[in-house]
Amino acid sequence: MYYLFDGSYAGFLTCVFESFEHREFSVTPITSDRFTGDFFRDNREVITDAAKAKRVQRGLRKKLDSNRAMDFFRVYLSEDPEAWQAAFRMILRIFDTGPEIMLDFGDNDVIFFAQTLKKVGRERHRMKAFIRFQKSSDGMYFAIVEPDFNVLPLISGFFKRRYADQPWLIYDARRKYGLWYDGNTVAEVQLTPAEKDALSPHHIAITLDERDEHFQQLWQQYFKSTNIESRRNMKLHLRHVPRRYWKYLTEKNGM
């Protein structure tokens, strides 16, 4: 049976709640907009319910330590319906038999969950590395990214701690939302079409700080000078910095 939900994590957890409520255990959670209809299987529309989601979350937290419970959120951020299914079945198993099953790596769901978790973790790490701020004339540091997975929620704390004394904006151009830090707190922001336009990589309409281009150029120079030509190994280079990330990397866009 398909459970159609709104794609939010609370919605996902509500699906778990309802599956217990209706004693339906062979369930495929899927977002409503991806559902194209399937005559052979029933479906149930699941309305996101914060209270139900919270109960499932609390249940997980009781069974697992908070970091392991977070893993379900991390895997959810992969936006991969197959990983959602695996996570869904695992939650049912955890409530049924206990948290040890998280280590049953011989099981298809558990190993797929672990692999997905690793992929999301790698993307999170990449975003910590690949984000390149530009400084605007009013002192705001802004960056655009298009991560493979929806990892902004996972890097928010990192950037807040590190860049505590400068306002910044990190905008996910694929998912069309951003994180904005005003020097105090981080908030999620949606941009107006005009603001989005202003941020598009090829015609930046934001006025840059007068020294910003200078430092971009210095960084590009550094990137060139620190390379050792007789060790050239583009294959390795590409493995670490895949082409899809180049668009927003200052050092790959100069000269």
Binding site: F130, R132, Q221, N227, R231, H240
Partner: protein, 418 residues
């Protein structure tokens, strides 16, 4: 090109032969300023040679009173010289850091005037970063051999990591190319910094708020392939330094020919020994994290690492009596010795087998190099065979149809890179 850009070009170019770029091991927190250290380190980009770029790695100056034959900055070399001012280094570091280009600064220098004069300049930079800019990002600082202990101690309060390079693995090798230098002048400051680190650590157990002193520890670097040391000699030196000075890392840097003036050194045009360098790192890794003893991998009867296969596979082929390992029964310690199985996969195996005997299809999904591992392990459904396959046959099979790692790294394949 602006003057500052020209300086950056010269002084980054001169610093790049120091291969260390690690930004890990420190847990410095942001205390009301900017920056912190990420315990596991972050590579912000990779150069076209595939090396991690984590730190802004520069020399304060490439003026030098010494004439070490293996070094681009040596006195007699005809290169453009430059020197940053203290303010310039601080400005570059802060502006790169704020844009998330880097994890921090790696600052080294040629020796101008004398050791203390140079060390004092380096100290002024790191002090300014920490106290005036309230910068808590990573700092790797070179200890200048021969500098006074007072200066070194103060620098240690601001740096996350300090290092001094051995340059050549043995004293004899060093004498050949840098007669003015000796290993004693490296050992002394390494020992001094290590003593300080230990006493600060002890103190911090008794008293709260003891300042941190070189929290990410010390490292060193050896140049490989410039002088004729064997891998056995090199790893023995590394082993000794790890033990005596509690080093966090030893780096091995394949020599890149930079001049034809010195007859004893490889001449320009000869390729740097990249595969050998890689094999040394793999050995280093096996010693530190896989519980291998050095004499299992290298000994007087086996002085050099194989180039066509990695040291773990080489060890396994020379020790067939340990194999095959039953992954459903063996200890974790033995499972990580199987070629093609790393520590993470071994943990997965040990956890997963509590739920039932593991079969081949399950193992294959756990992130192992199955083409290598298959000859050295048995799973629940591995067909029973009489006797073992001869190890030279196994090697041939792995090299032939194994994954391309070996093919790519074979010396002949390497030539296509140039």
């Amino acid at each position: 090109m602006s003057r500052i850009e020209e300086k950056l070009k010269i002084l980054a170019d001169a610093a790049k032969y120091d291969v260390s770029c690690s930004s890990s091991g420190s847990k410095r927190k942001n205390k009301g300023g900017i920056g912190d250290a990420s315990a596991s380190g972050i590579c912000h980009t990779y150069t076209e040679d595939g090396r991690c770029v984590s730190l802004l790695k520069i020399l304060l100056t490439n003026h030098c009173i010494y004439d070490c034959a293996f070094c681009v900055s040596r006195k007699s070399n005809d290169v453009k010289r430059a020197a940053f001012t203290v303010e310039e280094v601080v400005d570059l570091t802060m502006n790169f850091y704020r844009r998330n280009y880097i994890e921090g600064l790696f600052l080294s220098s040629g020796i101008f005037k004398n050791a203390d004069f140079t060390m004092e300049r380096l100290l002024r930079i790191v002090k300014k970063l920490r106290t005036e800019e309230r910068y808590n990002g990573y700092i790797h600082l070179k200890t200048i051999p021969g500098a006074s202990e007072e200066l070194i101690r103060e620098a240690g309060l601001y740096a996350d990591r300090m290092s001094i390079n051995l340059e050549l693995p043995t004293e004899a090798g060093l004498k050949m190319v840098a007669p003015e230098k000796d290993h004693e002048s490296v050992r002394k400051p390494l020992a001094f910094v290590n003593e300080q680190m230990q006493s600060y650590k002890k103190e911090s157990k008794l008293i709260r708020h003891v300042p941190s002193f070189v929290p990410a520890g010390q490292s060193t670097q050896m140049v490989i392939g410039a002088t004729p040391e064997s891998d056995f000699e090199i790893m023995n030196v590394a082993d000794e330094y790890y033990k005596n000075y509690k080093l966090k890392r030893v780096y091995y840097s394949g020599y890149i020919p930079i001049n034809n003036e010195h007859q004893a050194l490889p001449q320009i045009g000869s390729a740097p020994p990249l595969i050998r360098e890689n094999r040394l790192y793999q050995t280093d890794w096996l010693l530190r994290f896989y519980d291998f003893k050095l004499d299992e991998i290298l000994h007087p009867g086996h002085k050099n690492l194989e180039l066509d296969i990695d040291p773990k596979l080489d060890w396994a082929l020379r020790n067939p009596h340990f194999f095959p390992v039953d992954i459903n029964k063996a200890d974790y310690k033995m499972i990580i010795r199987i070629p093609g199985i790393g520590r993470q996969s071994a943990m997965k195996i040990v956890n997963a087998r509590k739920f039932g005997k593991l079969r081949e299809y399950q193992i294959r999904k756990m992130g192992i190099a199955f083409n290598r591992a298959r000859y050295f392990m048995v799973c629940a459904d591995t067909p029973f065979t009489l006797g073992n396959m001869a190890m030279d046959h196994v090697k041939k099979r792995i090299l032939e149809n194994g994954n391309s790692t070996y093919k790519r790294k074979l010396p002949t394949g390497q030539l296509t890179l140039f």
